[in-house]
């Protein structure tokens, strides 16, 4: 064995040891989740509807879409997420609608209820309707990352610039945070 082979061999073992130490450290500190897959999702209660979801996603048309939590909503004629404030008349004229792309449509159900639906091909995730709905209504319209569209980037480029830190990685089991309740779950204190 000459000097060169000796150096190469010992270098290899040192590097292998280093990698093993690194792996052991990560495992020992329980910083690895074996089954774990994480996906990006918006916490609707933290979201401040800044509008960056529409522009910061790496996709041309953002993977963030507006979602309607149907069970939450009163569906009234005067929908703050559907109409611009101070519109002259409450009809479906484009000048009255809040949605810039016409993605939010409604269907009459019975007096005074409407069913609001979102066309995901048109929705750009700007959150204008969400702002209206949260300011004047029940907040049933809210933004969610749609996982059929999301590329699950290593770092979400919207999360990087989200001013209210509403986008985080969540376990795949809870891939969606649809507003099912009226109350922010973070505000409920556990009993005892």
């Amino acid at each position: 064995m000459n000097r060169k082979i000796f150096l190469t061999q010992s270098g290899r073992w040192v590097l292998l040891g280093g990698l093993a130490y690194l792996t052991g450290h990560i495992f020992f500190k329980r910083k690895v989740s074996a089954s774990g897959k994480y996906v990006w999702q918006i916490d609707p209660f933290k979201c401040s509807q800044c509008g960056r979801c529409a522009t910061q996603c790496v996709r041309d048309l953002s993977a963030v879409k507006c979602v309607h939590a149907y069970s939450l909503c009163g569906y009234c004629d005067l929908c703050g997420g559907y109409f611009k404030p101070n519109t002259l008349s409450l009809n479906t004229g484009a000048e009255n609608q809040l949605c810039p792309t016409g993605a939010l449509t409604r269907k009459f159900v019975e007096e005074p209820f409407f069913e609001y639906t979102i066309d995901e091909e048109l929705c750009n995730g700007c959150g204008k309707c969400v702002k209206g709905c949260t300011s004047f209504g029940n907040g049933s319209l809210h933004l969610q990352i749609r996982h059929d569209l999301c590329q699950n980037c290593n770092e979400c480029s919207i999360a990087r610039l989200c001013p209210s830190d509403a986008i985080t990685r969540v376990p795949i089991e809870t891939a969606y945070q649809i507003k099912g309740d009226f109350i922010n779950p973070a505000l409920i204190k556990p009993k005892g």
Binding site: R12, L19, I26, K31, V39, D60, C150, N154, E155, I183
Partner: protein, 407 residues
Amino acid sequence: MLFAAFNSLQAQQRFPKPEFKTEYTQPSPTTPEPRGVGMEFVDVALLILVMSLTAWFAIKKRSRKGILWLTVFSAVYFGFYRNGCICSVGSIQNVALALADPKYVISLYALLFFLLPLVFSLFFGRVFCGAACPLGALQDLLIFKPITIAPWLRKTLGVLPYVYLGLSVLFAVTGTEFIICRYDPFIGIYRMNGPYLMILLGIAFLLMGLFIARPYCRFLCPYGALLNITSRFSRRHLSVYPTKCIECKLCTTACPFEAIDFPDSEKERPDPKKSTRRFLLFLILIPVLMAAGGWIGSKSHVFLSKANQTVYTAELLISHPELRKDPLNLDIQTFLASGKSLETLTEEASAIRDKFYVGSWILGAFLGLVIGFMAFNQLIFRRKNEYQANRGTCYSCARCLDYCPVE
């Protein structure tokens, strides 16, 4: 009556839930499933398979054709089908963040993507670069007429991957951002979707790559910088000729990356006395370079920390208090609405800046070490009698094997 149920800002039930007289049932929101967990382990298995096959083709079978098909497979599967995320190159940042941030949890999948190519390189050389890396695959398939780059230029540009590696780790451990992913040139092409600049950058790199073979791999890739080090210690490695070199130089024209070392008969043997003196001089020079690098690094920590969103907002609020009235500044408006005090934000920001201070000292010293070592490496005289692939820079693409006339 309508506002009877008005609670607080957080509890947004202002209107009662509807009760329908007609037979109308409410639909429920759809939740399209993300890509399954099982698929990730298929990816890991395929990564191992592709790297093993590359090693076999490069070392045993000596087949360029086999590696070419594996390259095509990687570009199609890891690139176009799987859309490139997560890749080994980006996983550096996940590992760095996992080591630095106690709250961050890395997925096993990302950890394996980081470890496996490094372990393989310790045994078989850079087989990951050869055919498994989707970023390399795309560039490798588009080499048209590679030009020769002068060694001084090639070696100087060779520092860039270490700079990129150091910066990406610094930004990852401070929780600032993942720059490797943000400036990944080819991911937009693989997704056939993305911001305009990302696609443009990708096309620019590919066009450059027609003449300068694999520009990203050679002069930017931070993971390549790691593999360059580990591969030097590989147990086995692709060998240009199967038996004995006949010094026909065909391999050097075949290699588009100039990764084939010349035998020392072509170089002038240095005067031993002179070289010992230079050897000692450089040995002293390395700590000096590290200290200088660290000092320069520490001077730039204020500038570097501006990339962090918290530091940026805190600085903006302190230096431009008039912006508090600007309704269009989203960062400031959201901060004001959150009810957090400026003191808390400043404390957070200065804690991050302290991390940057320490980090940029280390970064500077690391770069000093790299530059010192590179210069030092030029001086060491290594006895070589034949043409052979450089273990650090050879990608195991096996082009030279096709050209070698030795049977």
